[in-house]
């Protein structure tokens, strides 16, 4: 039991110390709290055309607001330090620091919060459209150049350092200043200014009757980030899903976990950036607040000598482990040093066919590498050549990987991936290598397998029918984490003083009714083929479960005599006892031992050394 539980314990934010030490993976290094904030302005065309649509479709404006709202809520979950802003242009009313006409700053650059989400919600749907016209009105006499100017003012008005500045422009007008060359020129100049100051301008063009032609105007306006250049322009988005995909790909600044060298041998290397394309999102840590004012409090931890009360600096301490009765003491630096094998980098061992990669050899989520010119110039070409050839020959590269100093090496397989774009010309698979972590011999366990009883073809065929009824297309973004979603909905409800939190739909639950409907009689037919009439797969286990529960309640007390305990302490063989026995013993002597075996043992050792 202990194994399973210990794994799950270390999964949540309440990670124990060990977990933290281990988990403090490359991510920790790339902590970017000091490098400034990311900022993103949604610049939304609010002219009449955005509110028009054919038939029952959602209007482009509605789609935009929906999309911005999704970004807000996902930012709240994933990166609440980022600054977001919403600016409309083409409105009758205006509100901005330079008093430009027809430009309305709805939300200044600030952290996303519950109130802002609610504000956006007001402008959704038919009612929203009416409210919008009433509040802001429409006017086509805007100047895009001034809108961009207003945006750059927003950036410069922010008091904190911004590391990444981006504007996303949502419109379905491909030639806004067709009849006014002065305004068109101004827009180009402003766009040039933005480019010079490192502000990225993306065009999120939406459906326009007759098609959206970028070459008419926007080709000179948009400013693609250097590291996102696909060499092609994406197509306009007709559906929210497409728009979301485009926006999601760009909403977070891409950051390397680490930049390092890939050594082909000791004097030939290229440099790569390591990225994490999937990283487990956790429930955030709670913050401590002062009860009276609800303001956050600071936490300070000090170490001091229990006897003398004098403050201990880290250098006044050492690290120890005890085996039996023998204490082994190391300097803190030594405990780090013994983890050091290599300098950091990827060291090539050789190549193997892709088919040799075992599907079940998985120990950690993978990472991704992409060439990096900032350490060794010319890396990209060599990287590209390796990628092309690995893809062509269907091989993977085996490497020894040390992501940080003082981390023991791991073997990884570099699996090539070819660049792919979808029908909207949005990149769905970037070019590069996935870094797949491979297990060591210690990481694999021998298992007592159940003897197989092969099914006959008839039984297999019936199961195939069942499977065929329940097929769907898996997509990585199909499932939301119900734990996180519920947590944030609870917070939202509290933040907005709502009576009842909105219940998140749990997408991980099987849709039993729908499944049963689709399967019809197949299940019964299959059961008749494999199970005898009196067999009940649930009953048996349920009974067993009950038995197990009962047992847990009146678990026989494992008694151990004081003398016996003392003997174990003296000979250093406490470790032979099981956790429940140790726990009971601790309870008996009124010791607080914590849940871990070592803690329990320590508590008892301490107790018996004094009594």
């Amino acid at each position: 039991m202990s194994e399973w539980v210990s794994y799950y314990r270390s999964e949540g934010p309440e990670e124990d110390e060990e977990g933290e030490q281990q988990e403090e993976g490359p991510e920790a290094v790339a902590s970017y709290s000091f490098s400034g904030r990311d900022s993103l302005i949604f610049l939304v065309d609010a002219s009449k055309a955005m509110f028009e649509c054919e038939g029952d479709d959602v209007t482009p404006f509605d789609m935009t607001i929906q999309c911005i709202r999704n970004v807000y809520t996902s930012k709240i979950i994933s990166s609440d330090r980022d600054l977001l802003s919403v600016v409309f242009y083409g409105t009758e009313k205006n509100k901005n620091s330079a008093d430009f006409k027809h430009i309305y700053v709805l939300q200044e650059l600030d952290n996303p919060g519950a109130k802002r989400v609610l504000e956006l919600d007001k402008y959704r749907g038919d009612e929203g459209r009416v409210l919008f016209s009433k509040t802001f009105g429409h006017n086509a006499d805007y100047s895009l150049g001034e809108a961009l100017w207003a945006c750059s003012n927003l950036f410069s008005d922010v008091r904190v350092k911004l590391s990444h500045k981006r504007i996303m422009l949502f419109t379905n007008e491909d030639d806004p200043h067709a009849n006014d060359s002065a305004k068109a020129r101004l827009a180009r100049t402003r766009a040039g200014d933005l480019r010079d100051t490192g502000i990225i301008l993306d065009l999120m063009h939406l459906k326009k009757p007759g098609g959206f032609d970028i070459s008419l105007f926007y080709r000179d306006i948009i400013n693609i980030a250097e590291d996102e250049d696909l060499g092609i322009q994406p197509q306009e988005s007709e559906k929210l899903e497409h728009l979301m995909r485009k926006v999601r790909a760009k909403e977070t600044k891409k950051r390397t976990l680490v930049r390092l060298n890939l050594y082909l041998n000791k004097d030939l290397s290229l440099s790569v950036g390591v990225y994490s394309l999937a990283h487990k999102a956790y429930k955030p840590y709670p913050v401590k607040l002062y009860r009276e004012t609800n303001e956050p409090v600071k936490t300070k931890t000090r170490m001091f000598n229990g006897k003398t009360g004098s403050l201990l600096l880290p250098s006044d301490t050492k690290r120890a482990q005890t085996y039996g009765n023998r204490q082994i003491v190391l300097e803190k630096e030594e405990t780090e040093e013994l983890k050091r094998f290599d300098s950091l980098g990827l060291f090539l061992i050789g190549f193997k066919p892709l088919s040799m990669l075992k599907q079940h050899h998985h120990i950690r989520p993978s990472q991704f590498i992409y060439p990096e010119e900032s350490i060794i110039s010319g890396s990209t070409t060599l990287f590209n050549a390796l990628l092309i050839k690995c893809l062509e020959k269907e091989v993977m590269a085996l490497c020894r990987y040390t992501p940080r100093r003082n981390v023991p090496p791991r073997f990884v397989a570099l699996v090539p991936q070819e660049e792919e774009v979808d029908e909207q010309k949005v990149q769905i698979a970037p070019p590069g290598f996935h870094v797949i972590f491979l297990p060591y011999a210690d990481d694999k366990r021998n298992i007592d397998f159940t003897e197989k009883v092969p099914a006959d073809p008839e039984q297999v065929d019936k199961m195939k029918e069942i499977i065929k009824k329940l097929r769907f297309k898996y997509r990585t973004d199909s499932f939301e984490n119900p734990v996180l979603q519920q947590h944030f909905r609870n917070l939202e409800a509290l933040a907005l003083d709502m009576m009842e939190p909105e219940q998140a739909e749990d997408l991980t639950m099987p849709k039993a009714e729908e499944m049963n409907r689709r399967l019809g009689n197949l299940v019964e037919e299959f059961k008749q083929l494999v199970y005898p009439p009196d067999y009940n797969p649930d009953g048996k286990a349920a009974k067993r479960k009950q038995a197990a529960d009962g047992q847990a309640e009146k678990r026989p007390k494992v008694e151990i005599s004081k003398d016996e305990l003392r003997r174990h302490v003296q000979t250093g063989t406490l470790g032979k006892l099981t956790v429940p026995v140790l726990k009971d013993a601790c309870r008996l002597y009124g010791l607080r031992g914590g849940g871990k075996k070592q803690e329990l043992m320590d508590a008892l050792t301490e107790y018996f050394s004094e009594h």
Partner: protein, 730 residues
């Protein structure tokens, strides 16, 4: 992981005189055998295994065993009875066990071991009993009792492994694959010198024993020393089984199949933690930790823990949310489950989607034929349709549910589903990367491509075995034991016996184990040269910036620092490139903070702001302690900070720090410290010293003047605040 019963193991070592002889430049067989035993016992001791170990030596000068009588069972010594392995045993193996001058029959030794295992395990429960025999097979052997020995081993279920100085070619014995094939190809370092007649006879006996014991796998339990040192092969034999997790696999609400799941692959981590002890007393109890909470105001008013409540950030809002409320409102799982959500084509699940840190193998429940048939139908149906199941998996009521993939895995001996977690939408970071194929600048030429092509061929780790058909893998990471564990155990043992010595160097064989195979290394030389010649690769030097800073720098006599003739006498001269390369410094420590800081800021990729923040934290720590030696340390840190800030053009960073420091002088009662600063004339960096500064020398002078008029306090420089803010306020 200590599950199930314990194991009783006898390490049976030949110490006869032949074991001590060795060709020049090589370790004797005895030394090699002792190394393996050490590795084995180390693991047992440091992993706090409950297995018990006995040691039997044969070929000893004396005799000590229960069976000895007359001329029977002579020169066999029971060195240690069955008990938990400990440091004494490690010490014994290292120092006490010495070569003898006699020889003894290894079959007799096995009989003594069996006798010991029989007698000493009476009345106790052991999951397994096991003998590990280390010998060079050079002593005379009489096989007249062979039959009895084998029958007894079989009857008692005692398992046996042989460790020999040379690989045994098992092919000509018929059956089994070459157990030593790998090591031959991989290193080829053990000279396969001719065996003596006696050894050949010994090999025959060993083969007979092992083959009769287990026709299929028996011969694979004969290892060479070299191989087992690398692979630690003996551990697999005594490894325990992981826990089973019983559940029902459900498809819809009406179909369920009873299953058992096991963790099959997961990162094995160290079980034992380092505890913090006082450096002087080495006692853990002397170190106590205290956590205080304080308000974020100027006085840092302390508040009681009971006066704090829990809250969470919701974007810009902080929402008070008590533990109880959270518990009540949080998402709840009903209980354990393994429910199929649907089926997808296997190609839709890509390898790099895998999340989590473990792989489960799922089988039908034990002793339930109905479940086994139903499960088998599912596994084969999935396999034949080339689809996978998408599953909701929850370990139990307290655990968060996962969505994962279960795919079929069919082997000769068993069939199962393999389950791996898949990402949630929130886990994904769909970054966009510039296209490589649409970027003309990085398209390789045909020559370059062909150079890479031949490099890949030359570094192929797979080769076809002579008779074709079967492929051999030169480098299998999954067969290599985690070097971290071995290194840790080596260091722990060393420190246990020699507490005051530095850590020993890493063992050579450990490093070799992690290297590219020799064959490949040689084969790829030429193609590598070609690649090197064809691809222009240049290290981007970062020196530029430093140089300009040096140019701007002007001699600052007050600080006594002169870049043209670096001072050798203080720490600064000593630190140098070696330390930079060594990379031993990872953060600004409290022992030599100034030196650490200098090293860290010069590193590539160093973030000056971050490193200097670490230094500032140290300085604050020193100043909180009040006392002249701490003050001097603080002053040294500030000096180092100032010098590096000038050199690396991070003037603002330093000046901001100094401003903030000055503002704290009064609140914190640091007037005496400030006096030292004034005496030493450590002031703001002026624009004469570095280009980035806007401070004139008068201003700098004034800055040090006794504080009276300026009473405004600067906001504390926590990481949230920003330098620009600070400037604006001044």
């Amino acid at each position: 992981m200590a599950r199930g019963g314990k194991v009783a193991i006898v390490l049976c070592l030949d110490v006869g005189f032949t074991m001590d002889s060795s060709p020049p430049d090589e370790e004797s067989s005895l030394e090699q055998a002792k190394k393996i035993m050490t590795k084995f016992v180390q693991r047992q001791v440091f992993a706090e295994s409950r297995d018990e170990v006995a040691v039997v030596l044969f070929g000893t000068d004396g005799t000590k065993n229960d069976l000895a009588s007359g001329d029977q069972y002579q020169n066999i010594t029971v060195h240690r009875s069955l008990m938990l392995p400990d440091f004494d045993l490690l010490e014994d193996i290292q120092d006490v066990i010495k070569p003898g001058s006699e020889q003894a029959d290894f079959l007799d030794a096995i009989i003594v071991c069996m006798d010991l295992l029989q007698k000493e395990t009476i009345g106790k429960k052991y999951e397994k009993r096991h003998i590990e025999l280390f010998t060079d097979l050079s002593s005379p052997v009489s096989d007249d009792q062979l039959r009895i020995i084998i029958d007894n081993l079989k009857k008692t279920g005692i398992s046996l492994q042989f460790f020999l100085p040379f690989p045994v070619d098992v092919d000509d014995a018929g059956g089994g694959t070459s157990a030593s094939g790998h090591s031959q190809m991989h290193r080829n370092s053990f000279p396969r010198k001719g065996l003596t007649e006696q050894q050949k006879k010994g090999v025959d006996v060993v083969r007979k024993v092992m083959y009769t014991l287990d026709e299929v796998g028996g011969l694979e339990e004969i290892y060479s020393f070299r191989e087992s040192l690398e692979r630690l092969s003996m551990f697999k034999k005594i490894e325990r089984r992981p826990m089973a997790w019983p559940c029902q696999l459900t498809i819809g609400s009406n179909l369920s199949i009873r299953i058992l799941a096991y963790k099959s692959v997961t990162e094995e981590k160290l079980k034992k933690m380092w505890t913090v002890v006082d450096a002087k007393t080495l006692r853990k109890d002397d170190v106590q930790k205290e956590t205080v909470y304080c308000l974020n105001d100027d006085d840092e008013t302390e508040v009681q823990k009971d006066d704090t409540i829990q809250g969470f950030r919701y974007g810009s809002d902080i929402v008070p949310f008590s533990k109880e409320d959270e518990e009540q409102m949080k998402y709840k799982t009903e209980g354990k489950c393994f429910s199929v959500l649907g089926f997808s084509r296997s190609s839709q699940i890509q390898r790099h989607y895998y999340m989590g840190n473990q792989v489960l193998k799922v089988f039908a429940a034990k002793d339930d034929e109905n479940a086994a048939v139903a499960f088998s139908a599912l596994v084969h149906a999935l396999d034949e349709l080339d689809v996978v199941a998408i599953v909701r998996y929850a370990y139990d009521r307290r655990c968060n549910p996962q969505v994962g993939v279960a795919f079929p895995y069919i082997k000769d001996a068993y069939e199962c589903l393999i389950y791996v977690q898949l990402p949630y939408m929130e886990d994904l970071r769909p970054y966009i990367f510039s296209s490589l194929k649409n970027n003309k600048k990085c398209i390789p030429t045909a020559d370059q491509l062909s150079a890479v092509d031949s490099l890949i061929d030359s570094m192929n780790l797979i080769y076809e075995d002579g008779d074709g058909g079967t492929f051999k893998d030169l480098f299998k990471p999954s067969k290599i034991p985690n070097p971290h564990f071995q290194r840790l155990y080596q260091c722990l043992q060393h420190k246990a016996f020699h507490p005051n010595e530095p850590l020993p160097p890493i063992e050579q064989h450990l490093l070799e184990m992690l290297e590219m195979p020799h064959v490949v290394k040689e084969r790829c030389q030429a193609p590598l040269e070609k690649v090197k010649a064809l691809f222009p690769l240049k290290e981007v030097s970062k020196k530029k910036e430093e140089k300009t800073a040096q140019d701007i720098f002007k001699d600052n006599t007050e600080d006594g620092f002169n870049p043209k003739k670096p001072k050798i006498e203080d720490d600064e001269g000593v630190f140098s490139i070696i330390k930079l390369a060594e990379g031993s410094v990872t953060s600004v420590g409290s022992v030599n903070p100034a030196e650490d800081f200098r090293i860290l800021v010069r590193r590539e990729n160093a973030d000056f702001r971050d490193v200097s923040q670490q230094l500032i934290n140290r300085i604050d720590q020193f100043l909180e302690n009040k006392g002249s030696q701490y003050y001097m340390k603080g002053i040294n840190c500030i000096r180092a900070f100032r010098e590096e800030a000038i050199k690396l053009s991070k003037v603002q960073c330093f000046n901001d720090f100094l401003q903030a420091l000055k503002s704290k002088v009064e609140d914190k009662g640091l007037a005496d410290f400030w006096e030292i600063m004034v005496q030493d004339r450590i002031s703001l960096i002026t624009k004469d010293e570095a280009g980035g500064s806007s401070v004139t020398s008068e201003e700098a002078e004034k800055f040090l003047a006794p504080k009276e008029k300026k009473n405004e306090t600067l906001p504390p420089t926590d990481e949230g605040g920003d330098v620009d803010d600070l400037l604006d306020m001044m």
